[in-house]
């Protein structure tokens, strides 16, 4: 299995500074600093409950930080109003851990949903072409009129990914993309993420503790321990680390 090579750092698309988020007395994110560069896949590695999902929900604006800035493509997310947030979210795809496909809608309606924005004007033919392109990208064009309940776990993940891709986002946030999948399907999804990175030059933050997935997709790994950016480096660098807190993830 080959690992994804480090990216030459150029333009920063996400820049997080002194980020803090607490729930009651429990500090989940504590003085977190981080940069994501264009075309780069960064995996955020950490224990369950360490605040990884909170971090990406803060980036997409589903939660508000207590302190700190999150610049996404030049905009500070906590300061955006709802319409500015909406415009920013067109450029960011979010793959939910549970896929979050709408049960009551067909695959086609699920994929069309992000195109409902009133300021996106597309003809019926264009919408159809976009849906078919997104489904072809994930290798499931035949499922277009099926309901999510008729699909397997791996297929649902692919459809969720297709919905994420339909607006051709510049940044994709993956929340545990291979959790709950068998190793073979997990590897296929990881490969798909890599193909998307290459095809559209997307930048991604991937939350995962599936070490096989991490090995395939990561250009760089960030260790989220005690709410801070504890360590950063390539897969090989962190795998060979002497620090027991880092090493335990690779054993």
């Amino acid at each position: 299995m080959t690992t994804n090579k480090p990216i030459i750092k150029k333009e920063s698309v996400i820049s997080i500074n002194d980020l803090n988020k607490a729930f009651g007395d429990h500090k989940v994110i504590n003085e977190f600093n981080f940069n994501l560069f264009r075309g780069e896949n960064v995996v955020v590695l950490g224990k369950s409950g360490s605040g990884k999902s909170v971090l990406i929900k803060l980036i997409i604006g589903l939660m508000k930080p207590d302190k700190g800035t999150i610049h996404v493509l030049g905009n500070n997310v906590p300061e955006l109003n709802s319409s500015e947030l909406d415009e920013m979210r067109v450029k960011i795809g979010f793959l939910f851990q549970s896929n979050a496909l709408y049960d009551s809608m067909t695959v086609r309606e699920n994929l069309e949903f992000p195109l409902r924005r009133h300021w996106i004007k597309t003809s019926k033919q264009d919408v159809n072409a976009l849906v078919i392109e997104a489904l072809t990208n994930v290798g499931l064009p035949e499922t277009i009129d099926m309901m999510p309940s008729e699909l397997s776990g791996g297929m649902r993940k692919r459809i969720a990914l297709a919905r994420t891709l339909i607006l051709k986002p510049e940044i994709i946030l993956y929340d545990e993309p291979t959790t709950g999948l068998d190793p073979i399907t997990g590897k296929e999804i990881s490969q798909l993420m890599l193909d998307i990175q290459k095809k559209y030059n997307t930048s991604s933050i991937i939350i995962s503790h599936d070490i096989n997935c991490v090995k395939i997709v990561a250009n760089r790994i960030v260790m989220l321990i005690d709410g801070t950016c504890y360590a950063t480096g390539t897969f090989q660098e962190l795998e060979n680390s002497k620090d027991p807190k880092v090493k335990q993830f690779f054993e």
């Binding site: 979210r89 960011i92 851990q97 979050a100 709408y102 992000p114 924005r117 009133h118």
Partner: protein, 251 residues
């Protein structure tokens, strides 16, 4: 305990306040509103019709012996029409709808919440409150009065059959007696209160679903709380309605 009740009431009031802000904001989710009207109105129709018919029939049959003691069986249509139109048909319809629609909305939105579908909607640029809550609350507010009016008619028909089981009352005489008895002061307040019944059933179902947590257990709790709280509120509104009609000399 008491503090928690006040907090809950405050949160429900804030949730309801948001409805009045969002309902006037564009864009209007007309298609989803119609879908909900169809679902709420059409799917509850058989249950409401059957229950209303039985209530009319049973009330008539049980009232007959008491009136017979006074030789006043000729007053049967008059008496049952006032009972059914003013109280029984609207309240029974509201309680059935609280059980069927309220629990359905609570469970549906609750499972959407725990499977992150509501977050996905937010990320996809669709205001989930507007798409899910406003459409459902408007649909219940409009459909439950229509169902209650239908229940009025069907329960009176049940009453007609009930009168003819042990006696003979012609179709014309039955309806003439009813329309001679009923005045606008009987019909109008009973229809107006059903709009409020519909509103609370919708808003409580949505509130419980929208604030669902703790996985599948939470979904069950949401559905259960939606039924219990909305049924209780139906009775409280009924109590207020009778006080108001009393003040207005409509009793």
């Amino acid at each position: 305990m008491l503090k928690n009740i006040f907090i809950e009431v405050g949160l429900i009031a804030r949730f309801t306040g948001r409805f009045f802000v969002e309902v006037f904001k564009p864009q209007f989710e007309f298609k989803e509103f119609l879908r909900q009207c169809f679902y709420i109105g059409n799917k509850s129709l058989p249950l409401v019709v059957i229950t209303a018919f039985i209530m009319g029939l049973v009330l008539t049959m049980q009232s007959r012996p008491t009136l017979l003691e006074f030789g006043a069986q000729a007053w049967l249509p008059k008496m049952i029409s006032v009972s059914l139109i003013r109280e029984i048909a609207p309240v029974i319809t509201a309680l059935i709808c609280a059980g069927k629609i309220g629990s359905g909305i609570g469970a549906e939105l609750g499972s959407m919440k725990v499977t992150e579908q509501i977050d996905a909607m937010d990320v996809s640029g669709t205001n989930p409150y507007k798409f899910l809550v406003v459409t459902r609350v408007m649909a219940t507010t409009l459909m439950i009065p229509l169902l209650a009016i239908l229940a009025d008619a069907v329960s009176l028909y049940g009453g007609y059959l009930g009168c003819n089981i042990k006696g003979v009352v012609s179709w014309d005489l039955f309806w003439n007696q009813i329309f001679d008895t009923l005045v606008f002061g009987d019909i109008l307040p009973s229809i107006i209160k059903t709009f409020f019944f519909g509103f609370v059933i919708g808003i409580i179902g949505c509130y419980q679903g929208f604030n669902s947590s703790k996985g599948t257990e939470g979904v069950g709790q949401s559905a259960n709380s939606a039924v219990v709280i909305s049924s209780l509120l139906v009775f409280i509104i009924d109590l207020l309605a009778v006080q108001i009609t009393d003040v207005l000399n409509l009793n």
